[in-house]
């Protein structure tokens, strides 16, 4: 029988969508039963007490978790978030309930062998409850006690060849879409870049050296499945520079209705017969496509690679072959001064291992930001404060019209003295010789 009555939570076991309440109860029961005789290193009733404290929140409408305090593993400044319950007497099983962030493999692929090892470790030394995955990408383990942290870390690194993720004013665990492993749109090896940067910047990931958090995310194409443009301080988005490859036979097959448009994504409703003008050509934001008889033509020079036509006709159109990525800086959620999307700072850069050119840019940026960023200032806020041009300068990037959506609307250009003939050092006597007061 359950330790706590949870009449409110029980309501959330109803309905078709997988119930997290049922899932926690399942874990709770498993621990109580302990069929495999696990020597649980944290309270056996941790899941029971979690349900209990959650039911209390459902009753009084307030959270019962407290600020973290500093907990972690030796030599690391992140990867563990301290968490305590504010009703420890009622719910001793969750009195200490720290989060552990485990660095996920790029693209979230797993072998079951590895997953089972993770499960065994976490069942043994923690609550057994996880998030697959946290918002930033980590495997998130919910709830363990302080003495278990070093033990978990030791087993993770020694037995599972896996490290903790980032938290605090660190580089956060980089994430990518599944890239070339299973997507024809990926212009770059997103997983590889993600993995490479993760390894390269381990030190920043584990030891706070920044003014605030910093996230890398890698999207293989402008579809942006990992939302790097909205969620990462430095976003990489794969692009091609040359022409979209066209299979004219497949174009005809779409027109003839032999292939469903948009990979069949709209098959749940009758949207009428496919019309290439209505669904593709007229929806092209740059109007760079047209039909000549049965042949689809693209003026690639005017294409802005928005992906619509390729998404709509995936069997007929493919990304180009001269590929690389754009880099965008400074995305963040609204806290504190409003949301920012990533701002384009590099329209195109080659993106091939060992990514030397990209890393050079990253290091110039880090150096500047560590020097100039204010405490708890995201790099996008620093960029807003110092101006986009300053960022281009410190990264030694070319000024390219592509970095702006439009030029400035005000005439307040901060000219530098060396740009103005004659300099700024002028004498009032000289001026007054021409202009009497």
């Amino acid at each position: 029988m359950a330790k706590h009555k949870t009449p409110l939570l029980d309501e959330l076991e109803k309905g078709p969508w997988p119930s997290f309440v049922s899932d926690i109860k399942r874990e709770a029961e498993s621990r109580t039963k302990n069929a495999n005789n696990v020597e649980y290193q944290i309270p056996v009733d941790v899941c029971e007490d979690l349900l209990g404290v959650l039911e209390l929140s459902y009753t009084d409408g307030e959270t019962h978790w407290k600020h973290g305090g500093i907990v972690g593993v030796f030599g690391y400044g992140g990867g563990v978030i301290g968490r305590y319950c504010d009703q420890p007497e009622q719910f001793p099983g969750v009195a200490h309930f720290h989060t552990v962030r485990v660095n996920q493999p790029s693209g979230f692929y797993y072998s079951t062998d590895f997953l089972k090892q993770l499960c065994d470790l976490w069942e043994f030394r923690g609550s057994g409850l996880t998030n697959m995955h946290g918002s930033t990408g980590d495997i998130v383990w919910l709830g363990t006690t302080t003495p278990q942290l070093e033990e978990i870390f030791y087993e993770l690194t020694h037995k599972l060849d896996t490290d903790l993720g980032g938290s605090g004013s660190n580089l956060r665990t980089p994430a990518s879409c599944l890239g070339m492993s299973r997507c024809q749109y990926s212009c770059i090896d997103a997983q590889d870049l993600c993995h490479d940067l993760t390894i390269e910047y381990q030190d920043f990931l584990h030891r706070p050296a920044f003014p605030y958090k910093f996230k890398f995310k890698v999207d293989g194409c402008p579809n942006g499945c990992v939302a790097s443009i909205a969620r990462s301080d430095l976003s990489f988005i794969g692009l091609w520079k040359d022409n979209i490859r066209i299979d004219q036979e497949a174009v005809k097959a779409y027109i003839g209705g032999e292939i469903k448009p948009n990979a069949g994504a709209h098959s749940g409703r009758d949207w009428g017969k496919f019309d290439i003008n209505k669904e593709v050509i007229d929806l092209c934001p740059t109007n760079c496509m047209w039909m000549e008889g049965n042949t689809l033509k693209i003026n690639d020079k005017e294409c802005n690679h928005c992906m619509h036509c390729i998404n709509a006709l995936p069997r007929a159109l493919r990304i180009g072959e001269e590929t690389g990525c754009a880099m965008l800086l400074g995305a963040k959620a609204p806290i504190l001064d409003g949301a920012q999307m990533g701002t384009l700072i590099v329209p195109f850069i080659k993106c091939e291992a060992p990514y030397t050119e990209i890393k050079d840019l990253i290091e110039k940026l880090f150096e500047f930001w560590m020097e100039e960023g204010k405490n708890r200032e995201r790099v996008g806020e620093t960029m807003k404060r110092v101006g986009l041009y300053k960022i281009l300068q410190v990264m030694e990037l070319e000024v390219d019209a592509r970095v702006v959506q439009e030029p400035r609307t005000n005439p307040y250009i901060f000219w530098k003295e060396e740009e103005v003939p004659g300099g700024w050092d002028r004498q009032i006597e000289d001026y007054r010789s021409r202009h009497k007061m």
Partner: protein, 383 residues
């Protein structure tokens, strides 16, 4: 329970220590069909909701079945996933960025049995463990945060609100009848872990009462200058307070009418709690964001419902408002049109009308200078 050492010796923390190794290499985990065709994919098709086929240049095919998950799952469930993957998928499985689980097989014949197996598995109380869907022009899983399960700043629960909304939208998860993909997200406070600020529909827990000052605690555990600096609207100033017992403490005073309830002070100083279960806390609904560059630039979400009360366990008002928005979008938008593109095309004034939502003064931006950009500087509006 006896303490069992991993081998770590607290007296010699550096002994045999392994650090900075990062994650396992992802190529160790790819199913053979993906490894063999890495970077050589030609196209894909969505065969039915939740089931994709990718074709490689080699002629190889991989079939993927995508299933929803509550994100919060115990290792029992993960082991069950492993069991399924071992049985059908050669011991490989993957998650998506939106907390779905993907089972992949390299032959079309394996799809049917896998599908049947997945749908047969339900929790005792009745919910699916592995509902199939989340592809194409439909609703996929909701990105969300911890809520009352695990977060100290949560103004609402995450898992509960998500469960309630997804139950209501279940048919949109298992079908592809919307004009375009509809991405939902949930954040339990305005810190907005997750991408609520760029989602088609997002709901966000938030506070509406200024912090209570716990003077005694503040003097003990917080630094006054940090608390003052934490406030983006300069609503917090240092002060000295006489406690009832006669002690004088260093604390802060709050100018309530300047508070915008962001909770940044509470993040910096735990002696300034904001949460209020008696009518203060609840949620807002934001809509119209997107991160894809397809056809139009990425967009931020806009606040369209200024307050929904916390109504645990099933948040009926929230569910109803989200439902209204999805219905109106579904019937009003054109094929390929994302929610935000639709709202912009018909005009936000019309959006409120067709969604039967009230436009209140709270929805007029008054935060910082860029607010001006959201006001209307044209006569191009609809009556």
């Amino acid at each position: 329970m006896a303490f069992i050492s991993s081998g770590y010796d607290p007296k010699q923390p550096m002994k045999n220590r392994i650090t900075d190794i990062g994650p396992k290499h992802f190529k160790d985990f790819l199913p053979p069909v993906l490894k063999n065709n890495y970077g050589k994919w030609l196209y894909h098709e969505i065969l039915e909701p939740g089931i994709l086929m990718h074709k490689a240049e080699s002629g190889d095919e991989v079939y993927t079945i995508r299933v929803g998950s509550p994100r919060l799952m115990g290792v029992q469930t993960i082991r069950e996933i492993c069991e399924i993957a071992d049985k059908h998928c050669g011991g490989h499985v993957r998650w998506t960025t939106r907390h779905n689980v993907e089972f992949m097989v390299d032959n079309k014949d394996k799809v049917g049995p896998l599908k049947e197996d997945l749908l047969s598995r339900k929790h005792d109380a009745g919910s699916y463990k592995f509902p199939i869907g989340g592809t194409g022009a439909g609703v996929t899983n909701i990105i969300h945060t911890q809520g009352w399960v695990h977060c100290h700043t949560a103004a609402s629960d995450a898992s509960g609100t998500v469960k309630a909304v997804m139950d209501d939208l279940f048919e949109e998860f298992t079908s592809m009848r919307l004009p375009a993909p509809l991405r939902l997200s949930m954040a339990c406070c305005v810190n907005m872990c997750g991408a609520v600020h760029c989602s088609d529909i997002g709901f966000v827990g938030y506070h509406r009462k200024p912090p209570i000052v716990d003077h005694f605690t503040l003097d003990n555990i917080c630094e006054v200058p940090l608390a003052v600096a934490a406030c983006p609207t300069a609503a917090i100033r240092p002060t000295k307070v006489d406690l009832p017992d006669g002690t004088k403490v260093n604390s802060v005073a709050i100018k309530n009418e300047r508070c915008m309830f962001c909770g940044n002070c509470y993040t910096m100083c735990p002696a300034l709690p904001l949460s209020d279960g008696k009518g203060g806390d609840g949620l807002i609904i934001m809509v119209g964001g997107k991160v894809s560059n397809r056809r139009s630039n990425p967009k931020f979400s806009k606040v369209v419902v200024d307050f929904v009360p916390n109504e645990p366990p099933r948040w009926p008002t929230l569910v109803k408002k989200v439902h209204q928005i999805v219905e109106a979008y579904s019937s009003g938008a054109r094929k390929y049109e994302r929610l935000g593109e639709w709202a912009e095309r018909i005009g936000w004034e019309r959006f409120f009308e067709v969604c039967d939502l009230e436009f209140t003064w709270h929805l007029i931006d008054d935060f910082r200078d860029p607010a001006y950009e959201t006001w209307r500087q044209t006569t191009n509006f609809k009556f």
